[in-house]
Subunit: 364 residues, 2 copies
DNA sequence: GTGAAAGCGCTAACAA
DNA sequence: TTGTTAGCGCTTTCAC
């Protein structure tokens, strides 16, 4: 009967830890060729109903589980998307991940996540790692999209990628999904001005670690100038440490108590804002009674606090989901034909919102 | 139907999006056999110094990047570890992920992350997905380790896994890394008792979604009984919603204002504690002036708040790192020989700590 | 030390 | 509709 020279009667033991059955085993059990068995899973419409059923039944009985490795190697595409985010410990990115995972799941794509810690050296290393896995493309947030070594590398190697949060700078150079950082920051600061504040300061993470922070600062300057107010230089705090240092507290104290100290602080991200509010409280100041604080990001945690954080809201889930969708659109467009005009738009600008919260009030 | 020489045209340009060079190309450029070239990367000690250098140089010039897919398929092991966590939006798991990623990076292992959302159906689906990728093993946190369908499946298929946070229940059944939930919770509640509280209530997420919550509640009962106090039934709040519902607020109000209402609340996780504190404040109550609140988890965020959250601290980074290390130890032990006594211990109990914070004070 | 050869599990021409 | 046949890029005996 076995007119196959097949030397693959090895199925007694359990080769792979998970499960032994290969497509070949299934094909034999269903008395069809390997090709037909394959088609049942990848192109069911090419195979007759009852044949397909026989194969499926055999697969079920054998506990067959497709080995994606073989498929990927052969197909020269992995259907894996690499994701690089600065950290997950800032809820912004955790929320974004959720959007990405949801979208990938819906589209049958797999994900590989790495974190860069805002560290360019680590960015390079982690990207290399994703490349070795032959991801089809990437979704990433880099420190500074305009001067990023990894982005240059990716461009040189023609790896498709889409930026999340990084707002494209040079015209038409990158694909990106973001809110308008500058405009939205301006809108946020204008709520401060509308509340009566005139002396408004900015607290930010390191500009080098975040082009968004720079853009948001520019938005602050826009708002101030548009209202005839003088922008102040930003207070740059090092990456949010788990706990406050005395120096940080001292900086904040000076900012708000100097003669003519600021009455409102615009923090370029929510985690920072939460930390700043705590520092202010420890200094014996009330928020918003003595000082108003406005955040940026719109993480859900902000609403859990009391008073709830006033902040500029980005749609974090959606940023992730859209970035992934954009990438898949690129991948598909490239597959169909190489027409340069096909594929998704390079820029996806999502709307921001202002969440009123209760950490902003009139100046003391 | 168009013919297919187009494929050749594209492949001449750029075979793989990333890079074209295969190990075979490198071997030819270095005038060695494929086998030798391979050895340079996997078993350098088997090849002569100068040969190796030639190969390395050729690889550099060609911009060779090993295709892990080929290696994995051939070697029948992927060096990928699957990670399943309930969510990353709870900082506990984000911190744990950090530990896992660090440890994996150090050991040259890759990771594939999925989230289960505390949903058993989704757990199954996501596990299947990891299995298709032929991960060598898994690190996971399941809703309830004692009655988990996915764990049974994994056992049946002999896939090595290590639980993080889930504390092993049946003797010797699972491998796990955790603090002692019951003992640590008891210790936490005893700080409440030491502060003078007698009427202490528990606020928890759904027990069905977390065996940890159940164990921590048991610890609470232990503490109460040991001090001659009457344990109260837990107040179970649905999964932490982004914002508070009126019902939640009403439940909390009743808990603390009924005749002889509780003076302290033990929340079985930090996010819950943060939410509960906000609710109390909105009810016009002061923490810890009117009501004391104790959390559990020790997320870093807790220290950023004012007052800083009093909580039972788990070493989240280390739980992740240890879980991964334990898994790799299992994988290696299995590789060496199948001696049943080899390999890491099944249980890894990590020490907890109490972070005093400032949300616990004497009863009003 | 090095090379030749045989696949790992799967997909996709092409043929029947 | 189904089968045959080549590999995808790599590791790994086994000879030399």
């Amino acid at each position: 009967m076995p007119r196959k020279p097949a030397a693959l009667a090895t199925s007694s033991a359990s080769p792979t830890p998970s499960n032994g059955a290969t497509l070949m085993n299934v094909a034999q059990a269903a008395s069809v060729s390997l090709a037909t068995a394959s088609r049942v899973f990848s192109n069911p419409e090419l195979v007759r109903q009852d044949t397909a059923e026989r194969v499926l039944r055999a697969a079920g009985e054998l506990g067959f589980r497709p080995n994606l490795l073989g498929a990927k190697l052969r197909a020269q595409r992995t259907r894996i998307v690499g994701v690089m985010l600065p950290t997950l410990e800032n809820a912004v990115f955790a929320e974004c991940w959720r959007g990405i995972e949801e979208a990938a799941l819906a589209q049958g794509y797999s994900l590989m996540l790495v974190t860069s810690r805002y560290d360019p050296a680590r960015e390079r290393e982690r990207i290399e790692y994703l490349l070795r896995h032959r991801v089809d493309g990437m979704v990433l947030t880099v420190a500074d999209a305009a001067r990023s070594a990894v982005l240059d590398q990716l461009d040189a190697e023609r790896v498709p990628y889409v930026l999340a949060y990084n707002q494209g700078t040079r015209r038409g150079k990158h694909y990106w999904v973001s809110v308008d950082n500058r405009v939205s920051a301006r809108a946020g600061v204008e709520t401060l001005i509308a509340a009566g504040h005139r002396r408004i300061a900015v607290v930010s993470g390191a500009f080098a670690a975040s082009d968004r922070a720079k853009q948001r600062y520019a938005g602050y300057q826009d708002a101030m100038r548009a209202h005839g107010l003088e922008p102040l230089p930003p207070l740059s705090l090092p990456a949010h440490t788990p706990t406050h240092t005395p120096e940080e507290a001292e900086h904040i104290r000076r900012l708000v108590t100097a003669p003519r100290g600021s009455t409102a602080l615009f923090c370029t991200n929510d985690m920072l804002a939460i930390g700043v509010i705590s520092i202010l409280k420890r200094l014996g100041l009330s928020v918003p009674g003595d000082i108003s604080v406005l955040g940026y990001d719109g993480i859900e945690l902000g609403q859990l606090l009391e008073p709830p954080l006033s902040t500029v809201v980005q749609p974090n889930n959606e940023i992730g989901a859209r970035a992934l969708a954009c990438l898949l659109a690129r991948l598909n467009a490239a597959g169909a034909d190489a027409a340069p005009d096909r594929g998704p738009p390079r820029a996806t600008l999502l709307p921001h919102a202002i969440r009123a919260g209760a950490t902003v009030g009139p100046p003391a």
